[in-house]
């Protein structure tokens, strides 16, 4: 029975990989095939339009994957070049975005986790703060942008503030939820061993609530990475969001598609990193 199960697993993985590759080839093939630039003039004389537009097609086409791959190769083989404000390597742009995301995110964590602890441990604080949290939480992070720009008067700091404000809520609520849900048995163990409140917090409540807190942190980093693109489109200057918008203004769709893919890859890596941390603090009851 075990043997067949193992065999089934292996073949399931193998078949899943095969299917994924088939889908990729099919998708890319369709995309490539449907977006080929037609042979100029159908092999005959160039039309007046074609002559005017130096042989360009009448309707703009989405660049095919082959072009995107070539662009990706170019960009990734030299990711850190800096040729002026409007021409920086993809690595530099992603670096700016990551810097903003991580700064805002870490600031949020520094505030949200202790505050969440407080709310989770004290029903009074929970009742007092809950109405504010419920009102502030559903606000789109970008709605804060004008106010942030006015108060902070610095686009860079405003972008970081927007990341801060969007990533604070999941961490705050999950920490409070996790701390409030720590089993009374474990708290009793701390009490019967005369642990000080600080030691109880660090040796019992924190490890007990850590998986829930990490879930909140994982949700937050995902939201922060979603929001940074939009925020940078607004504030401009640097960053992957600005890069996408700038390439759109340049009508360079190949670079737009390439940067979209890069946003996805970096987002996935951020999630994987936090997933690995979550594994470290996970425990089985």
């Amino acid at each position: 029975m075990d043997r067949t199960t193992t065999e089934w697993n292996v073949s399931l993985n193998a078949r899943a990989s095969l299917l994924a590759v088939v889908l990729l080839v099919l998708g890319l093939g369709l995309w490539e095939g449907l977006n080929q630039v037609p042979i100029l003039g159908g092999g005959g004389e160039l039309s007046e339009y074609e002559q005017l537009m130096a042989g360009a097609d009448e309707t703009a086409k989405v660049p095919p994957p082959s072009e995107v791959l070539v662009r990706a190769w170019e960009e990734l083989s030299n990711p850190f070049y800096d040729a002026g404000p409007n021409d920086k390597g993809i690595g530099i742009q992603l670096g700016y975005s990551l810097y903003r995301v991580l700064t805002g995110y870490l600031l949020a964590a520094v505030i949200a986790i202790p505050l969440g602890f407080l709310i989770g441990m004290s029903p009074l604080m929970y009742k007092a703060l809950n109405p504010y949290i419920q009102v502030l939480r559903p606000i789109s992070p970008l709605a804060w942008m004008p106010l942030a720009l006015f108060i902070i008067q610095d686009s860079e700091a405003s972008a970081i503030f927007v990341i801060f404000i969007c990533s604070i809520w999941p961490m705050l609520l999950n920490t409070a939820f996790g701390v409030a849900g720590v089993r009374q048995d474990w708290v009793n163990v701390a009490r019967t061993h005369e642990l000080s409140p600080l030691k109880t917090a660090f040796q019992v409540i924190l490890p007990a609530a850590a998986p829930t807190i990490l879930t909140g942190m994982r949700i937050s980093i995902g939201i922060a990475w979603l929001v940074i693109v939009a925020a940078e489109m607004l504030v401009g200057g640097t960053g992957i969001g600005y890069y996408v918008w700038n390439e759109w203004n340049n009508l360079d769709l190949t670079s737009v598609i390439f940067s979209i893919l890069m946003i996805g890859v970096v987002g996935m890596l951020l999630d994987l990193a936090l997933g690995a941390v979550a594994k470290l603090v996970a425990y089985q009851e």
Binding site: N188, R191, T192, H193, L195, V204, A208, Y283, Q284, E285
Partner: protein
């Protein structure tokens, strides 16, 4: 009398009733003493407030009335001089077996070096036969092993009073027997005072010097304190062959099945009872005349020839 090791006087637990209704009294007028080095079990049906008494002694719960004094000091909140083994083990699941025991030892002796804490913890884990699995997390241990870790943690801190809340309630009979033996071994070595809740009559006879019998709740009382004078060291296999075993056992089972529900609290209070009456079932059975003051007493004196033998299971929830 005046300087018992642990002294509980006139304890009561009440819950406020719904609007217009009187308070619900779980138990009332509960007084008892524990001597140093004594092993005392408390038996009663669910809902009589055994766990509340235990949690109050642990400092995790409070009586509505009454006082608890241990070595001349009032019990006011949890403390390291009182160790607790919970029914659900209460191990910290993110720590290994060794780290769980170390957790207790480190809390008890803060000045100890890491090596000394580990050495001390390992000694107690070895005593409960877990030397080879000290690195495992609780989730990787069986229920019996987890309870052993919990017992090792409690004994390793050398509390003056050890409180066991149905420690073997969730274990199968075979495992329970093995751990009972280990408990006897570790207890006879350290001679701690133990107060234990159990539902298992045989377990109580095997372990206890005295067994406190509680009547049914609400308004429960501790009716009697049964003395178990079987010689120590006791062994599970041998103890049933002792001529007094079934006299004691039948007395206890009879109490749980019949008398715990019939005894009226008013009867107990009228006699001005403060401490539960000390009863020795063997002496009582050998006395020809049943005690006249209590009509129920007659049935209690029946010997094992006439009583049905109850298995522990039947006494579980009554």
């Amino acid at each position: 009398m005046s300087h018992a090791f642990v002294e509980v006087q006139q304890a009561a637990k009440r819950f406020p009733g719904a609007k217009g209704e009187p308070d619900l009294t779980v138990f009332e007028n509960v007084s008892f003493q524990l001597e140093k080095g004594e092993f005392v079990c408390i038996i009663g049906h669910s809902g009589c407030g055994k766990s509340t008494i235990m949690n109050a002694l642990a400092g995790l719960d409070q009586f509505s009335d009454g006082t608890m004094v241990m070595e001349g000091k009032e019990i006011d909140g949890p403390g390291l001089e009182r160790g607790v083994v919970f029914q659900n083990y209460s191990l910290l699941p993110w720590l290994s077996a060794l780290e769980n025991v170390r957790f207790g030892v480190r809390a008890r002796w803060k000045a100890w070096s890491d090596a000394k804490v580990t050495e001390h913890s390992l000694a107690y884990l070895e005593m409960v036969g877990l030397k080879d699995v000290v690195g495992r997390k609780p989730a990787q241990l069986s229920g019996g092993m987890r309870q052993r870790v919990s017992i090792a943690r409690a004994f390793a801190t050398k509390p003056k009073l050890l409180l066991l809340d149905e420690p073997f309630g969730a274990l199968d009979a075979l495992t329970r027997g093995v751990i009972q033996d280990e408990l006897i071994k570790i207890w006879s070595q350290d001679q701690q005072t133990v107060f234990m809740i159990t539902h298992d009559v045989d377990e109580a006879i095997l372990l206890a010097d005295r067994i406190l019998l509680m009547t049914n709740g609400p308004e429960a009382r501790i009716a009697e304190a049964v003395e178990i004078d079987l010689p120590r060291p006791r062994q599970r296999g041998e103890i049933v062959k002792h001529p007094h075993f079934y006299t004691i056992r039948n007395y206890l089972v009879d109490f749980l099945v019949n008398r715990s529900g019939e005894l009226r609290t008013a009867d107990l209070d009228r006699r001005g009872l403060r401490y539960p009456e000390a009863v020795n079932p063997v002496e009582r059975a050998s006395a020809d005349t049943p005690a006249a003051s209590d009509g129920q007493r007659a049935s209690a004196d029946t010997t094992h020839d006439t009583l049905v033998t109850f298995t522990p299971k039947e006494t579980h929830h009554g």
